[in-house]
Amino acid sequence: MILPEKSRATLYLYAALFLLGVLAPFVVYPMFVMKIYVYGLFAVAFNLLFGFAGLLSFGHGAFFGTAAYATGHAIKVWGLTPDVGILFGVLLGTGLAGVVGAFAIQRAGIYFAMITFALAEVVHFIAMKMPLTGGENGLTQVRRGMFLGVFDLSVPLVMYFVCFGIFILAFLFFLRIIHSPFGLALRAMKDGEDRAISLGYSPPRLKFQAFILSGMLAALAGSLKVVVFEFASLSDVHWMTSGHVILMTLLGGVGTYIGPVFGSLVVTFLEDYLSFLGQWVTIITGCIFIVCVIGFRRGVCGEINVLYDKLRRGRAARQGDPDTTRAEQAGE
């Protein structure tokens, strides 16, 4: 956000994407686009933790799935409206993130990842045993109902724009976190924990807060998922879901803003259009994972950013633009 030209380009990009989102349901199957939003939001939540706080969680499916079950149960069994149901799901998912986060931040790096993985497995086990999740059958036929008393979600287009609206609000919330003093402190901690401590920050507290915020957004994605697709199942809390969200983020670009949404688009596209391959899709997903880790760690949007900076640097050097060159030096 230091470079005025870059922020202008970003603004144009967001405007174009917004327009694309408005037009999309008239061109593409709305359910497909909503799936991109749901998993895109989930990946944004994961990226908040991994890309900006440097914490790799292997258990985000637990928050996503728990919120999906909670919202689904509230709507189907208690007969609550979807808005209250979503609120309930987000609350429960955030609470769970608080519990898991409190344990996970006791260790760093790979141990953090293993703890989140293990605790998510506990959640999966409980979900499997609890009668109200419907066990192997899942929680099905969750009727969408009226959102805020005005929007009839059973109409596909209304559902689409409510989903789109929630996604945009959540994404703006994410941007707000990243650009707040808290977000800057997170990045400072990620780059050098000791330096952050010497500046008076408390890494455990920062990590815990980031974990809760990330879990909250993941829970919102899960709640949205059950409203859109009208079902929640064991696969939502499974480690495979946690793995998928990592892949989306990696593919789109860890630490970029819109990258994870792009990753969600690619993975959703693959899943929907290669679904005739059945089990074999997992192998393709795994291969993409491996390729990303070995030779494509910046992800699509990360590469675009690097390319953009390179172009700008070339131009700035030619014109001798003092403004950009100074910023460049500050940035490096």
């Binding site: 990842a113 293993m114 506990v122 086990f125």
Partner: protein
């Protein structure tokens, strides 16, 4: 005689069963530990190696008519070869990176390996007979124990102790430990460190495959068996720390026993008892019991 309202022989039999589970935890966390020490990566695919060990045993018997005893050598060898290929082609690209990337790469490997076996064999369990010499039960004084389970316990203790001796008490082990501390210095003594790394990865994976062979006659052989055990092993490793070989062995046996005991007093919680211990340990300490 009763202890907390539970007959002693029931208690002891559950402890013995817990020790069997513990044998697998110990062998798997030992392999995880060795690989982490040398390669600095947590091998997410360790469970997949275990699954492949069990599956190759089944396949050798099913397609080629090769029995349990040859499989005990052949399956780990096969998995070892696969591990060498994986290390040379994929894992070696990551040594200069943060070890989180190792975890991510091996997670991708899990998707591929499990996906292949699921594609061919779906998720149903394949039965594998107990070898004839080990069928029946043996009287061990206080109870009758299935002979095969006794064999698993004995074999795992021998393997774990043997590995510990190899690493802590032999010249080869000393070189290995030196290479973990200072690879650059060890290389100047004319030792091929990259080859040592490759062989360590193969050895750890073969160890996982060996546990898979031992597991084949008592657990259903299916593509997902690796993931359900590796998550428990991760918890064991979080409790014991990845830094100590003896810690991972003892941790595996103790936690397996504890799981068996939970089964006596509160069966519902037995599946998650190890995770609860992990949570308690995390609350009480800030670094693993036997870890760094």
């Amino acid at each position: 005689m009763e202890i907390f309202g539970v007959p002693l022989n029931l208690l002891l039999s559950q402890v013995m069963l817990g020790l069997i589970n513990g044998s697998f935890y110990a062998m798997l966390s030992l392999g995880l530990c060795i690989i982490f020490g040398m390669l600095d990566i947590v091998n997410f695919a360790h469970g997949a190696m275990y699954m492949m060990g069990a599956f190759f045993t089944w396949m050798l018997g099913h397609y080629l008519g090769i029995g349990y005893w040859p499989s005990l050598i052949l399956a780990p060898l096969l998995v070892g070869v696969i591990a060498i290929v994986i290390e040379r082609v994929l894992v070696r690209h990551l040594y200069d990176l943060h070890h989180i990337y190792g975890l991510l790469l091996t997670f991708g490997l899990v998707l591929v390996i499990v996906g292949i076996f699921r594609g061919f064999y779906s998720v149903s369990g394949k039965p594998y007979p107990i070898p004839e010499a080990l069928t029946g039960v043996t009287n061990i004084g206080f109870m009758y124990m299935p002979t095969y389970r006794l064999w698993v316990l004995g074999a795992s203790i021998v393997v774990c102790f043997g590995t510990w001796l190899l690493i802590e008490r032999t010249r080869l082990g000393a070189t290995l430990r030196a290479a973990i501390e200072r690879p650059d210095l060890v290389a100047t003594f004319g030792i091929n460190v990259p080859r040592m790394i490759t062989l360590t990865f193969a050895f750890g994976s073969a160890l996982a495959a060996l546990s898979g062979v031992l597991a084949a006659p008592i657990y259903p052989v299916n593509p997902l068996m690796g993931e359900s055990i590796i998550v428990v092993v991760f918890a064991v490793v979080v409790i014991g720390g990845l830094g100590s070989i003896i810690g991972s062995i003892i941790g595996g046996f103790v936690l397996g026993t504890l799981e068996g005991l939970t089964k006596v007093y509160y069966p519902e919680a037995s599946h998650i008892s190890i995770f609860i211990v992990m949570m308690i340990v995390l609350l009480v300490t800030r670094s693993g019991i036997a870890g760094k």
